[in-house]
């Protein structure tokens, strides 16, 4: 960004917040300018509460929130900056585009609220919509927009006021799978172009891995793990992290029902061609002592690199040719007497492999 002369010291938050009698959120966040942090967690973990707290829609109970060196909320000194005086851009989960305003009026809303004259605000909003290729729908109401268009209008509405902090609450979860992959790339570009700190709220580990530099796993109002996508994938600390973030995420080139990875080839259930993103749930991978009978097409010999016991379930990291995390039951592990360093066969049913088209350069 051109006007990058302003010193932005990012977001610092260390807080306790309460919603209703039953829910308590305890969170420490530090997001330097120009970086994206993901808050990954299941429903009810406190993700939306975090958005509300940072946006000023819910005061903290204790702690402090500072943005660009300015304290936004600190009950101990009686300081609370209301939402309309914070410069925080929010993309809400269901977008919350104003149904009585057109797309361009929605985008202009923040500018108008900041006392920009109507004509100027609309002109700037129209410019923005043109830049993201939505000129032709600028006069439509939200009810007449597709999910993808609504998402981009919501993002434009949040960004056009040049906020100091960008909050994205499940920005892609309302979209269908193909739109999601495309808009995730758009979003990555927008995030790249946004100079301030960015917080991505999501329950989708792929989204978190692709869009954020750092991931906090949030469960029941607490951060249970912090690290890179790889940290969490390879060393999940909780059951939830293992379930969700533990998915194997691979890049490859698909053609004719196969996907070529760096040094390996997998059979896939779809006829997608070109660059693809491949996800394999750890529980979809089976481990055998000998070459499995009926030989599933995706099976190969390898070596066990790591065994982690997590209660009744055991996570097994396999070595070359393809490093994967498998998850099998404790019973099966004991029955096979599996140990680190053992030679084994792994097998994956083609139907268990998730393939998403059009993922070029996302993982780079």
């Amino acid at each position: 960004m051109v006007e990058g002369v302003v010193d932005r010291s990012g977001l610092e938050a260390s807080l306790v917040a309460r919603r209703g009698p039953g829910f308590r959120l305890e969170l420490s966040l530090s997001i330097p300018s120009g970086t994206t942090v993901a808050l990954l967690g299941p429903n009810g973990a406190g993700k939306s509460t975090t958005v509300d707290v940072l946006a000023g829609l819910l005061p903290v109970e204790s702690g402090r929130v500072t943005l660009s060196g300015v304290t936004l909320d600190e009950p101990a000194v009686g300081r609370f900056v209301p939402p309309e005086q914070r410069n925080v851009g929010v993309v809400f989960q269901d977008y919350l585009l104003f149904p009585h305003l057109t797309a361009v009026e929605n985008v202009a809303f923040g500018l108008r609220s900041r006392r920009l004259p109507r004509e100027q605000a609309l002109a700037r909003a129209a410019d923005w919509l043109e830049r993201i290729g939505l000129s032709d729908v600028s006069q439509r109401r939200p009810g007449e927009l597709s999910g993808g268009q609504s998402q981009r209008v919501a993002l434009a509405r949040a960004l056009v006021t040049e906020p100091d902090l960008l909050l994205l609450d499940e920005p892609l979860s309302a979209l269908d799978v193909t739109t999601r992959a495309r808009l995730r790339r758009d979003l990555a570009e927008h995030l790249e172009g946004f100079p301030g700190p960015r917080l991505l709220i999501t329950h989708d580990p792929t989204e978190a891995a692709l869009l954020a530099e750092q991931i906090h796993v949030l469960e029941e109002g607490r951060v249970t793990q912090t690290g890179s996508a790889d940290d969490i994938r390879l060393r999940p600390r909780t059951r939830y992290a293992a379930d969700l973030a533990g998915s194997n995420l691979l890049m490859g080139k698909a053609s004719g029902g196969r996907v070529a990875l760096d040094v390996f080839e997998l059979h896939i259930p779809s006829q997608v061609e070109g660059e693809v993103l491949v996800t394999i749930r750890p529980s979809a991978i089976s481990v055998h002592r000998r070459q499995p009978e009926g030989s599933p097409r995706n099976s190969w010999p390898t070596r066990i690199e790591l065994i982690e016991r997590m209660g009744e379930r055991v996570r097994i990291r396999t070595g070359p040719p393809l490093v994967l995390t498998a998850e099998i039951t404790e019973g099966a592990t004991d029955a096979l007497d599996l140990r680190e360093g053992d030679e084994v066969w792994v097998a994956i049913k083609a139907t268990e492999i998730g393939v998403e088209a059009g993922a070029e350069s996302e993982l780079s």
Binding site: G56, L57, P82, E84, F109
Partner: protein, 270 residues
């Protein structure tokens, strides 16, 4: 042919015969009086009757007072609806009950209550007259007050329901976009409940236009000052049937016109 599996039909395509008969009876109840009115109308005399003093005075007074009552209801009724819908305070359900009381109370009783409170000897009327010289009963202002008292609940109820059904997150989103409370109210809340607001205002106005009992009790029946259309109809029925019919036609025409105009755009919100 089995009875358990009748051929597939659009639901409601062939309603039971009993429903048709009863429904038509219901419709007849509305249509027959209208037909009676039209049959009794002295069409050739109509221009003369409609330009008579009694009719023009009543029409002018009715339009002025009902519109003023609607305006007052908008100014104080919408905030009241907002408070009941959005602010939690002790006795809120009681307040909600008080607001809807004029809906079920016989208007005459409402008028009498207004008289006891604001009459020349009333609880508030006496000090009010002493301090400001303002005397409400048997004045045009009294008509407006009686109209507002009886009609405002329609607005409050409609707007309150709309506010309660409105997703608060839209207002939160507006706040994050830099809109202060007043801007949020003006640019998000009110436009989003717009259809209900218009419907509520229409009902209020229609109720005010037809007000009789509270008006005649509190404001009396003085031609040109407090004699609105319904009052004029009542008086004319005693003395001059033709004028009564002409007045009634005016009311029917005005009400129908408003209904038709509003139905196009807003009525669906109700």
């Amino acid at each position: 042919m089995t009875h358990s599996k009748p051929e597939r039909r659009r639901p409601g395509a062939r309603p039971p015969i009993v429903l048709i008969i009863l429904g038509c009876l219901g419709l007849a109840l509305f249509l027959i009086p209208l037909a009676g009115l039209l049959a009794r109308t002295p069409w050739s005399e109509l221009p003369r009757l409609l330009t008579g003093d009694l009719v023009t005075d009543a029409l002018r007074l009715s339009l002025t007072t009902s519109l003023l009552a609607t305006l007052i209801a908008a100014v104080i009724g919408v905030p009241l609806a907002w408070l009941i819908a959005r602010v939690e305070f002790p006795g809120r359900s009681l307040v909600r009950g008080v607001v809807t009381l004029p809906l079920v109370l016989p208007p005459v009783v409402g008028g009498a209550a207004l008289l006891f409170a604001l009459g020349r000897r009333g609880l508030i009327g006496e000090p009010l007259a002493g301090l400001t010289g303002l005397v409400l009963p048997f004045s045009t202002s009294g008509v407006v007050l009686a109209n507002t008292f009886v009609a405002m609940p329609f607005l409050v109820i409609t707007v309150e329901a709309a506010l309660r059904n409105l997703d608060h997150r839209f207002e939160a989103a507006a706040a994050t976009l830099g809109a202060g409370r007043w801007t949020v109210l003006r640019r998000v809340t009110l436009p989003m409940i717009g259809p209900s607001l218009v419907a509520g205002l229409t009902l209020t106005w229609a109720r005010a236009l037809g007000e009789f009992g509270a008006t005649i009790t509190f404001a009396g029946n003085l031609q040109g000052r407090t004699q609105t259309l319904p009052l004029a109809v009542f008086v004319a029925l005693e003395s001059d049937r033709d004028t009564a019919v002409a007045l009634s036609l005016v009311m029917v025409a005005v009400s129908l016109a408003v209904l038709v105009i509003l139905r196009e755009r807003w009525w669906k919100a109700l």
